[in-house]
């Protein structure tokens, strides 16, 4: 074999703490190595050209690049050697940046370690075999989980691009959190007016199948061919007959049902349609509050329904769909703010969350858009806003910034002035984070044109003053003095966390999530919508706090990734997968049970049962290799012999 070794300087990233020329010099004496060099930037165009040239000049049939993590540039260099006529799997990478130069300062030790890593790569490469990928068909259909603005955007972009979409939404209507908002920053345009048309488009698009009031129960398979089980929760109403006329909601006698859509700011009926622009506009029965379902006596909605849609016997239904790609857009929930005793811990009716305040401001909300105090229905004069309630707080395990509270608080102060011209808003803040197009201008407007009183400091206590108002005690850290304000209404900018059940869904999708339940992207900067599971993409707040413009952008980005995936006539599977040596397999079945991808099946070979790997499903994780008691399974590109050769290279002494 004729091997070429390239030890990258990576500017000063590697050369700063590793003697790369020395590593290259030592590599020249390794077995089968006929050429070694230390280019400045191997991944740059001249660096890649040098590899191709060396392959031609020295008739190389294998290449080792000692540089950075293979996660970034292994595909790059595989393409390079392929261009020069080699099989892309006759290439090995030694990570001497993340594993050596960035983590150690001792140049001599670093140089020794780098040289040993290169030797390991050379020993492995000597045992590499050319591999070629298998191609397989793709189901050109996408599943989008979550019908908030990010999911809606992804669904519309995919469908407009000609890809059939299955949109699954947990609630009875799509629209997500944005549907609850009154106005949106920084333009103060009506949320329903800009989101509503998109929701209608979803309902009307011939390529979009909407499963509202449904949840993803199980996901199996792999990129190109996922099999998804979706549970359609029973609304006790036959939606094919329901016209959304609303007669049932008018007649329902159970009028004390908590109204989740209105953030529990009012009551609704047990059979309900969330809001006038709901998509689908279909009635749903809230079972624990329905008299017919709990006590068997009532049945009024069934009697008044003009189409006979109400059916108390309707059961959940589980359907199975096959899709080629999945977009997760599951959004967020509010942090539980009742842990904050200083704000009353939820005891005071006039201390509300910003999302509840949105419902008070909204014309289709419980007060018809009149801003009044929940306790006595009076118009507030002094409204205190408190930011960072459950954000940037390590003491409750939420150290991150929720990203959009500064902006919506400014918006709510502006709207308060619009609704009640003689009102005064006071905002307690730590820092004003208004880094976005027209954002800082907006917060300045809230101060300059709307007279909002921004107070740099925190609130230590809220208590009733005995005359129907609340005393807000706090500090103005710019003045360096404790201060107090009499308030009629207190609005908390409650921070956000991943939506309930996000971790469970992540496990079904086989993607990772961070300590707070937000899904992990493949690369923080360069792969913000991809995940480490091929074919699964992210959109919106499920990946991390972001506002509407960013969620919409990410929804479109995820759609672009789906369209990119489906633009290929066939997908290629990575050939670095498991293979069963039929002669040694004893059909114990352990590999079948341990495979997390369901990639091993039992086949009958001339009357004897044997395990067999389904090549397009296997991910090459190696679990079966470790499990097989016979050593009958080997992982191509990481065979036992290759791993032992690496170990021998390292433990010669």
């Amino acid at each position: 074999m004729r091997i070429g070794v390239f030890v990258c300087h990576c500017g000063s990233n590697i050369a700063g703490t590793v003697d790369v020329a020395e590593v290259a010099e030592r590599a020249r004496h390794y077995p089968d190595v006929v050429y070694a060099d230390d280019p400045m930037y191997t991944c740059a165009e001249p660096g890649q050209a040098a590899i191709e040239q060396a392959i031609h000049d020295y008739k190389l049939d294998g290449v080792v690049v000692a540089s950075c993590t293979p996660r970034m540039h292994e595909p790059t260099f595989r393409r390079t050697v392929e261009r020069a006529g080699l099989n892309p799997y006759m290439f090995e990478m030694a990570n001497i940046r993340e594993h050596v130069s960035w983590i150690g300062k001792d140049k001599e030790a670093n140089t020794n370690k780098a040289a040993e890593l290169v030797l390991m790569a050379v020993e492995k490469l000597r045992r590499n075999r050319p591999l070629s990928p298998k191609s397989f068909e793709v189901t050109k259909k996408v599943l989008i989980i979550g019908g908030g603005v990010a999911g809606i955007q992804a669904a519309l972009d995919c469908a407009d691009g000609g890809v059939p979409v299955i949109l699954v939404e947990r609630e009875a209507t799509i629209g997500g959190k944005m549907a609850k908002l009154d106005k949106t920053f920084p333009t103060v345009d009506c949320s329903a007016c800009i989101l509503g048309p998109k929701m209608v488009d979803v309902a009307q698009h011939p390529l979009i199948t909407l499963y509202a009031y449904s949840e993803v129960e199980d996901i199996s398979g792999y990129v190109g061919n996922f099999e998804v089980k979706i549970r359609k929760k029973t609304p006790y109403v036959d939606w094919s007959k329901c016209t959304g006329c609303g007669t049932c909601t008018e007649k329902c006698p159970s009028k004390k049902t908590p109204d989740a859509f209105n953030e529990f700011m009012g009551d609704t009926t047990a059979i309900t349609i969330a809001f006038p622009q709901a998509i689908p506009k279909k009635a749903v029965i809230n079972a624990p509050y329905c008299r017919k379902l709990t006590s068997g006596k009532c049945g009024i909605c069934a009697k008044v329904c003009p189409t006979g849609a109400v059916d108390y016997e309707l059961k959940d239904e589980v359907i199975t769909e096959t899709v080629g790609s999945i977009v997760a857009a599951t959004g967020y929930d509010l942090v539980d703010w009742s842990v904050y005793e200083e704000y009353g811990g939820g005891r005071y009716p006039d201390v509300i969350t910003a999302l509840q305040y949105e419902r008070l401001l909204n014309a289709s909300g419980p007060t018809g858009g009149h801003v009044v105090r929940p306790s006595d229905g009076r118009e507030p004069r002094d409204v205190v806003f408190i930011q960072c309630v459950g954000s940037r707080d390590r003491s409750i395990g939420r150290p991150y910034c929720s990203a959009f509270c500064c902006m919506y608080t400014a918006k709510q102060a502006v709207l308060t002035k619009d609704h009640i011209p003689d009102s005064q808003s006071h905002i307690f803040y730590m820092d004003i984070r208004a880094a976005g197009k027209l954002y800082d201008e907006f917060t300045r407007r809230a101060m300059e044109e709307y007279g909002t009183n921004y107070i740099r400091g925190r609130v230590s206590a809220i208590y009733p003053d005995g005359e129907g108002r609340y005393v807000v005690m706090g500090a103005d850290t710019l003045m360096g003095e404790p201060i107090e304000i009499k308030a009629d209404l207190v609005v908390l900018a409650v921070g956000i966390q991943a939506s309930a059940g996000a971790e469970k869904l992540a496990e079904k999708l086989r993607i990772s999530y961070d300590a707070y339940g937000f899904f992990m992207e493949s690369h923080v900067k360069l792969k913000p919508v991809e995940t480490n599971t091929a074919g699964v993409f992210l959109a919106g707040v499920c990946q991390g706090p972001k506002d509407i413009p960013a969620s919409v952008a990410q929804g479109s980005a995820a759609a672009a990734k789906v369209l990119d995936l489906f633009a290929r006539p066939q997908l290629h599977s990575d050939p670095a997968i498991a293979h069963v040596d039929m002669r040694r397999c004893v059909d114990c079945g352990k590999c079948i049970r341990c495979c997390p991808f369901g990639a091993i099946e039992e086949v009958n070979m001339r009357g004897v049962n044997k395990a067999q790997v389904i090549e397009t499903v296997c991910q090459g994780c190696g679990l079966c290799v470790a499990t097989c008691p016979q050593g009958a399974i080997q992982l191509s590109h990481s065979t036992d012999n290759q791993i032992l050769a690496e170990v021998n290279a390292l433990c010669r002494f």
Binding site: E342, I396, D476
Partner: protein
């Protein structure tokens, strides 16, 4: 015009490190939200607010911090520690600063120190506090002979001011005395004010 703080001249990084070491708190995690100041029940008499003290420690402004009356007026109620979003035990930092100020000879509010000494005298003698003794010693030390006397009748009625001190049981008083003596000895060996 106020004089600018010359960071080059007045900054003392060793001071920041010492406060961190002695209090066991990571001062750099303070992001100046102001929760401590908002909750402080004694803030209205401070010349510098708690968050400003924390800022001073971050900057290493030893003199400004240790000469502040806040260090002495702090009640040690720990509301600041409870409210800190970064889990800093702010009250512990204040306590540390108080000790450091004393060792440096910077007692900006001597009355508070006198009260403490009076309190500790009764603990030394009886192993636990004796309110009326503390009061009398404090009046004597501070020459504020009538301070808080108006509270006495009500406190007496509620049996909050017993005339006879209660001793700690099981030789506890002697043990408390030994602890305080040991502390004093150690301080003397270090050459700081006990």
């Amino acid at each position: 015009m106020m004089n600018a703080i010359s960071l080059g001249r007045m900054r003392d990084p060793a001071f920041t490190r010492e406060v961190e070491e002695r209090s066991g708190q990571d001062i750099s995690t303070c992001y100046q939200c102001g929760n401590c100041t908002a909750g402080c029940p004694a803030g209205f008499v401070y010349d510098r607010q708690v968050n400003q003290i924390m800022r001073g420690v971050q900057l290493g402004l030893k003199e400004q911090v240790l000469k502040s009356n806040a260090v002495w007026f702090c009640l040690g109620c720990s509301m600041c520690s409870l409210r800190c979003p970064n889990n800093i035990d702010v009250a512990r930092v204040m306590e540390t600063l108080r000790h450091m100020a004393r060792h440096e000879g910077d007692v900006t509010v001597p009355r508070v120190e006198k009260f403490w000494l009076s309190f500790l005298d009764t603990v030394r003698a009886f192993g636990r506090t004796w309110e009326i003794g503390t009061m009398a010693l404090y009046m004597f030390r501070s020459l504020r002979l009538t301070t808080d006397l108006d509270l006495a009748p009500a406190a007496l009625k509620r049996h909050k001011l017993p005339f006879i001190p209660k001793c700690a049981p099981d030789e506890g008083a002697a043990a408390a005395g030994r602890i305080l003596a040991r502390y004093k000895e150690r301080a003397r060996a270090k050459g700081v004010r006990p």
